[in-house]
Amino acid sequence: MPGKLKAKIVAGRHLPVMDRASDLTDAFVEVKFGNTTFKTDVCPKSLNPQWNSEWFKFEVDDEDLQDEPLQITVLDHDTYSANDAIGKVYIDIDPLLYSEAASVISGWFPIYDTIHGIRGEINVIVKVELFNDLNRFRQSSCGVKFFCTTCIPQCYRATLVHGFVEELVVNEDPEYQWIDRIRTPRASNEARQRLISLMSGELQRKIGLKVLEMGGNAVVGYLQCFDLEGESGLVVRAIGTACTLDKLSSGSAPNTNTHMHPNTAPASNACNSPSKDGKEPVFVEDLPSSSGPPTPFRALPTSSSPPPFSPSKPCSRQSSSSDTDLSLTPKTGKNTWPRPSFPFSSLPSPTLHIGEFPFFTLTSFPPGFLLHVGGVVSARSVKLLDRIHNPDEPETRDAWWEEIRQEIKSHARALGCHAVVGYSESTSICEEVCILSASGTAAILNPRYMREGCLDIGCTDHRLVSFFLIVQLKVSDSLNVSHHVFEEPSPPNCGFCHIPYDELNMPFPAQLTYCYHCRRQKVPDVLFTTIDLPSEAAVAGKGCLIQARLCRLKKKAQGEANATAISNLLPFMEYELHTQLMNKLKLRSMNALFGLHIQISVGENMLLGLASATGVYLTALPAPGGIQIAGKTPGDLSSEHISSIQKRINDTIAVNKELYQINPPELAEEGVGSPIPEPRHRSRLFRSHSESSDELSELDLSHGKKDAFVLEIDDTDAVEDIHSLLIDAPPPTGFYSCNTENMPGISNWTSGVQMFTSVRVLRLSNANLTNQGLNKIFTDLCENLLKSFYFKLRSMIPCCLCHLNFTVAVPEEELIQVTVTAVAMTYDKEQTQEKTMKESFHVQFNTLSTHQSRKKKFKLYSLFIHPSSASVDYGSFADRCSTWLELLRLKAHTIRRGSVKTISSLERCSPLQEGRSRSLRSSRSFGGSSVTVVKMTPLSFLPGTRIIKYLGIINMFFIRETTSLREEGGVSGFLHSFIAEVFAMVRAHVAALGGNAVVSYSMKECVFMENPNKNQAQCLINVSGDAVICISETDQESSASTANTGQTGGSETDGAT
């Protein structure tokens, strides 16, 4: 009996009218956990009932605590007939199970009904008392922390990264059980919601157990997905990276792990304890030695390692497409290109204990962690689903993923890499066909981090630190020294670009040059990765979102024939997506892609492919050549046409260079003694290109510029393709966009943050569409979405759309659905003009931002005062009363806080302090509101703030159904209110945990189904993220511990309201 769960139902408000006769409701509440149910008294005839119940106590195993949600049902009492359910609240109590996170869950939760949506709110308090359990064979894994964030969370330090953890659980989908024929939609939806909640609890517990086994205490980059396989069942699977994390004492917090967030890297580095500094060029001294091929991992003789690419590889019913597709994508240089002849060790160096799969779901790393990056590795396979017979042994699904992971691993090895970073898995299901995909970036990691006890990211030689500081001081001494000079001596900014593979045994043909930074090592001409841009990387100009979009029609088919058809199409799609990406990259005059994510979605009669990435100009890589257009025969009739296209392309490149401010500093010195690759290389590139695109190598190579990338126009399709290249409109002035955590070239964020989700569904009415026509439609759909965002967010200019995450689906035969979640963040334009604000400019910026935010806060403050003072003599309404009480409490809180402040720092002027601390809560106390403002972002940080506490993972699954679609405003109205409701429920849960923000938020699933003829629609949404408390960075100046106390006090007050 290791845990006691206590719940108290305080009150309800804004309840719906359940009794038409009296226009009132007789509400009571059922509280259920596991098989135990408690009930409150009926609160008669009130829409704002006050139950103030006793504490309901559940004595349960901690295993159940992890798996089960607390289920709260609000009902309307009816003397003569069955009680009517008003709605439910599911509370995941996992955040209460580890000591560092939340201690209490308390607040207003929306009462949710799957048919009616939100119907009023209920105030609940939940606590857990855990008893220590020393049972070694326990099934629970309480205490393991989970983070969706794909970097080491702020305010933590990774002492060890253990490696990849994965698990999946399967069950029958209640929607497809026989009983569904006789029960109500509501009952069916609730059964599903509950089951999924249970399954994700179980999954998390099982992963936690694995982590404990490995000796870790946390999972970072936790990625959980649902596969709604329909008839064949429901799969919940998750992957993550097991770590041992140390909480940093709040006192030293400001500078920790700032690698994610340039803003937090203050100039005060020097005065901080060096061991806490995340920005050190830890491996400065390593570089010369690591400049050779990464021998430690490759010295071992070839053992067996069957060539990952072999025609004889068993491709039974499920053809593993990745092999074939990879064979077709060599020209782009950065995909895997396994050669049978390439000798590799079966295992990386024995010093690396990173499990069977050396995979990391993280996308950004502490500086020095990544030594080299090989390129993107991906694998896909098409499977036919059949019923899962025994839910307790989900072997088939496990085996499928195992297969894919093995393939990824061998691809990585072919690239001379021993690890895969930025790893992710996904599926696309249509009827009984399922495409499993996995992708990541092959990389070589610093062995230091992997050895037991050596991953102390902070623990570096003092020598190095002092060296770093000296450099830093130098820079701040002379402001006119550009940041490039600053970065010159520290090669980490180019190290990761250096090829990890052997130049003589290149896994694929690529053009190599000496690094434009250090001139010591070879780099490829382009680099594709799935990770975020390393913070230390040297870039020129700004990044931008690059998307490749593709539609392919396929014949309708069943079973194996269908699977075969799909797997035959996949390689062509990947190839074409790759070509598009490459062309668009060149068109923007950039040479690297980060955050590459390729999604292939399958429908009954078509396949959709969408590749998104953030293009950037890495100064370590050679400048990209232009794009050369060539006709089939040079003296063609259409030569005029060709030259006009050529001109347009050249113009676009020039415009883009200007737009993204790509002026690499190296350009000037290019000719000076730099080892320019011999022409042989170049011709080889061309040859490989022509090979891959099935053209003869009769191209006139002297035709264009030396470095140009040749596009040949041989038919109208090609012309279309080029046109489609050019229609990608650049974002309007004042906007930038990317799909990564960091926007290359922008780091001076201001406080404006707007997270949004947008869904668009297109109906293709014309049945006889060609591939070309479809492509156009699909491209327009994506482009129009972006245009819509720019327009809607125009008030935020200058602003950047970050973490643009597009998801495509083919929900029905003629429908294309695109779902986008992203965040718009404002930045300081003036600061950008100064090109980069490295350490020396930082102080200036910091003060500036402080100033601005203070102003803003005072404004808020006055707003806050106005309505509350107006309500002073107004006592006739109960809610007003409570407002007043809350106000008093607030005041008390302010005073308490203020006094703490005075003690800690006398010179702080108190009115300001008070203004701030009140304004901190002002937003939530307007006009009697107790609603906490909760910010949401898909990024791991919020600009201008510092995360001081992670409160636990948010992982919620909702179903909404309607049988009165027209009345709810049609499909758009229905989905609009559902998404708004999901946001509201996420915010309410975060607020109840005492948090004020969600980071690493993502909408994993948004499945929409409609039947307009029956006036019905249904939608499933799964969202996840990390609930956090963050405080304004300006508070950072004051002692962090004070802020901490204040904040804790704040969350407690929250709880009480």
Binding site: W108, F756, N766, K792, F864, V934, A980
Partner: protein, 332 residues
């Protein structure tokens, strides 16, 4: 090929004030798009018509979802569905409860009943305020009326508290409610020249000086008792009116109006009486506003000279309001 579904939801609810106004004014989505296009918003962000249409639809949906909350503005502050910054909430409420003076002028003093609501299309045609907007405004009046009807305490303050309105708007609503409650006659042709603001001002005067609720906690619509005494003035005032005949008539008019105030039914005619008995005669004599002021001031003060006059307080209270009402109403 058609867009089947198109939504955009922000964590902080995005609202464009211009679109909000168009929505309030009862424009259809397509008309609103036209207006926005003419407004030149397209140039701002290289937007196309489709973008504008999609944006307008999104916002209209948001407003429709918010409307339920705007009916009881206090809810807007503590609901969880929309995260709206406080200053935006204030804007939303204020604009939602704003009304067209031309429209309110038409329904002023009418019973806020279903019957009146049926006539809204006529009023819409007459005032060229869209029917949708008319309905919203009418429903607002009705809602405010219904809520304050049962509340004790000062009218303006009640409205302000309950609907979180600005002082100005709360006062206007108080006037509307006051007129509706007392059913003042405002529709006569002779009163047509008066604007809503004229009436609102008078209502303010009446509320703060003649209703008891304004001063203390007792509720009584008109201080009838006080006016009971005024008829006794009738005989006495004759003493000091020895000027021109018109003066006599005017004086008699004012006294008669005062006397009628005791009867609830006659109270309705207060404004028409003021115009007929006082303002029109003065206007026909081409009095300037200054003349009027001078006359009324002296007229009020002269009562004090009378030793026998025992109702100084009531007299002042009456004349104070009448004076300021007449000043306000005396224009073309």
């Amino acid at each position: 090929m058609s867009v089947e579904l198109d939504v955009f939801v922000g964590n902080t609810t995005i609202m464009d004030e211009e679109v909000y106004q168009l929505w309030l004014d009862g424009y259809t989505v397509n008309d609103a798009v036209k207006v926005r296009m003419e407004g030149g918003v397209m140039d701002e962000c290289e937007a196309s018509k489709d973008v504008l249409l999609s944006d307008t639809m999104d916002q209209y949906r948001t407003f429709q979802m918010c409307e339920r909350l705007l009916h009881s503005p206090a809810k807007l502050a503590n609901q969880l569905l929309f995260q709206i910054p406080p200053h935006r909430q204030i804007m939303l409420i204020e604009r939602y409860y704003a009304f067209d003076d031309t429209f309110v002028r038409e329904v002023l003093g009418k019973k806020l009943s279903k019957g009146t609501k049926k006539d809204l299309d006529d009023i819409s045609a007459k005032t060229s305020v869209t029917l949708k907007s008319c309905r919203r405004q009418f429903d607002n009046f009705k809602r405010v009326f219904k809520v304050v009807e049962e509340l004790k305490g000062p009218l303006v303050e009640n409205i302000r508290q309950h609907f979180l309105l600005s002082d100005k708007l709360a006062r206007d609503y108080a006037a509307i409610v006051f007129f509706a409650n007392n059913r003042f006659e405002t529709g006569k042709r002779k009163l047509q020249y008066l604007s809503f603001q004229d009436f609102a001002f008078c209502a303010g005067q009446l509320i703060s000086n003649w209703t008891v609720g304004a001063v203390d906690n007792m509720v009584e619509d008109m201080d009838e008792h006080a006016f009971q005494t005024l008829p006794s003035l009738r005989g006495k005032t004759k003493v000091f009116i020895e000027m021109e005949g018109s003066f006599k008539n005017l004086s008699r008019g004012l006294i008669n109006i005062a006397a009628k105030l005791t009867n609830t039914k006659d109270v309705r005619d207060f404004f028409i009486d003021l115009v007929e008995k006082f303002i029109e005669p003065c206007r026909s004599d081409r009095w300037s506003a200054a003349d009027m002021k001078l006359y009324l001031t002296h007229y009020t003060n002269s009562a004090h000279i009378l030793d026998t006059f025992k109702h100084q307080v009531v007299w002042d209270r009456y004349m104070g309001v009448v004076k300021s009402c007449i000043f306000k109403m005396y224009h073309d």
